[in-house]
Amino acid sequence: MTDPAGLGAILVVCALTLAAGTYGLRISRATSDFYVAGRTVNPWRNASAIGGEYLSAASFLGVAGVVYAQGIDMLWLRIGYAIGCVVLMVLVAAPLRRSGAYTLADFAELRLESRRIRIACSLLVVAIGWLYLIPQFQGAGIALHTVTGWPGWIGAVLVAVVTTIAVSAGGMRSITLVQAMQYWLKLTAISIPAFILLAVWRSTPGAPPPDPTLWVRPATTAAHGLYATGSTLLALSLGTMGLPHVLVRFYTNPDGRDARRTTVIVVGLLGAFYVFPPVYAMVARAYQPGLAPGLSDTIVLTTPDLVLHDPLRTVAAALLAGGAFAAFLSTASGLLMSIAGVVDQDLVRSILPRLAGGDLPPRLGLRVSALGAAVVPLIVSMLLPRAGLATIVGLAFAVAASTFTPLLALGVWWPRLTTIGAGAGLAVGACSAGAAVLMTILGGNPDGWLGSLLAQPAAWSSPLAFAVAVLVSLATPATIPPHVNRTLARLHTPESLLD
């Protein structure tokens, strides 16, 4: 069962990640290096890093899996990830960079001038980050199991350990390097086997024809398919800007203009990647139309076995296994870095010295936080039943779209947003989307419309959070933050005028 080439590729990717992490240790000197890579990362490298971070287990394995299982409607899913980047760019990229804040919590405090909102945002960063980490760990388990037959927890622990070490060792600059590298690794790993598969499939006489039902008739397999697709698309389009690990990357641009230019490159890089996952679904569907739904997340890894013979099969399988691990590692390290950042800033740094009774080395807080931030979702990922990688990632986007997105979009553009209004929007969005996520993950959803609404909450929870934030703000004009005009001017003034 063990495929030595695949296992070798996984170990090489882990080793490269660790090596880049320790290299970063030597070049990251100042605190700002550690958190935001000294803000001197050029657009191409930064875009590669964002792409590397953004293309997670859901993109590498999950997209092909859902397209295989549910057909052409699911192509929208991977379009949604790219739309999300465009929405992020036109609404918040440059202003957020110009705000000069390190994290989402910093931005919230700067804009709304409230310590409570800051704490609420920190908690939400942790919650969304954990929700997003779970499928990364589960995906690692699935991938390692497919390649070696080992039990699922080994893969999850491997990813958790490697990312915790990489984050504690080098901080943001090493993460930038690791993630930029991993984008290109992932693109290579998904594209070359796809070309090989297509070439062999089309050139083999007597090969099975494409499955016509998958591609022509949009699938109506899921209950309320149109609602589910639309709601997921909305979650991805709006939620991207509210993801803690994607946003922190924009602080590493030198200025607002570069933040925008970076995002354009990201859109291009994502497009280049997302052309390939459906190829696997198409080939797998032709060769093996009746795979059980629970196994569809593995089709990217198993398709080479169906179509190819050695040595091509070994090469393709090794590339795919390595690429999948690059996906888990890059996303997990970005998430871990953001979670550890806020936990360190808002919690550990005030508590730890008191416990130890004295000064501590400056990075100890971040390291302790990284460890804590990895252990909790690791345990949860083992206890939870598997719900499909793309599904859980979609839920993380839905929570972000219902909480941080209203806060950011209104915060950047609407002067009349009040502290109470923003807080009410956050609370309503977090509770409604959070409750839907818990019901869905724990498997308590009823049948019928209510179940569909809970399974894909973004279509109602995000507008609800926007509406609550706006209406409560209009009702409480007294709590408009005192420096709102100055803050907004800072967010929108081109840097060259401020020298």
């Binding site: 052409i72 739309i83 008739r217 949009p218 800072r490 005028l497």
Partner: protein, 130 residues
């Protein structure tokens, strides 16, 4: 120069001492650039204009995106023949949703960056000239 100043060598006249208003105002006259850069209240008003222009641009970009993607979906839904079309061996919806959407999004993103930067540079020009 000023009429109060007596001619040199003459007996001292009564001299009315006034502040030179013109000079005083010249010294504290502020440029628009200074207002913006020092983030005074007036500067904030200038930036608010730029902000409205940027918001209009952003919303129209989003509107274009929604219209294009929405009409595509509706077309595929209402016009079954489009779903059955093939370009080579590949069905038409797959070509559009699978590949063509990305260059379109990339083009939209690039257009936005250009338009947004030209709004900013126009603003910078106005501010620096005044």
């Amino acid at each position: 120069m000023s009429p109060e100043q007596g001619p040199t060598g003459a007996a001292p006249h009564r001299v009315r001492v006034t502040s030179s208003r013109r000079r005083a105002t010249r010294h504290t006259r502020r440029t628009m650039a200074a207002d913006v850069s020092e983030q005074t209240e007036l500067g904030e008003v200038y930036v608010a204009g730029l902000m409205r222009a940027q918001l209009r641009l952003s919303l129209s970009i989003l509107l274009v995106g929604v219209l294009v993607l929405g009409s595509l979906t509706i077309a595929l839904e209402l016009w079954p023949a489009a779903r059955a079309l093939h370009i080579g061996p590949v069905p038409f919806p797959w070509v559009v949703l699978g590949v063509l959407v990305y260059p379109a999004l990339f083009g939209l993103a690039r257009y936005y960056v250009r338009a947004s930067e030209s709004l900013e540079s126009a603003f910078i020009d106005v501010v620096n000239k005044s």
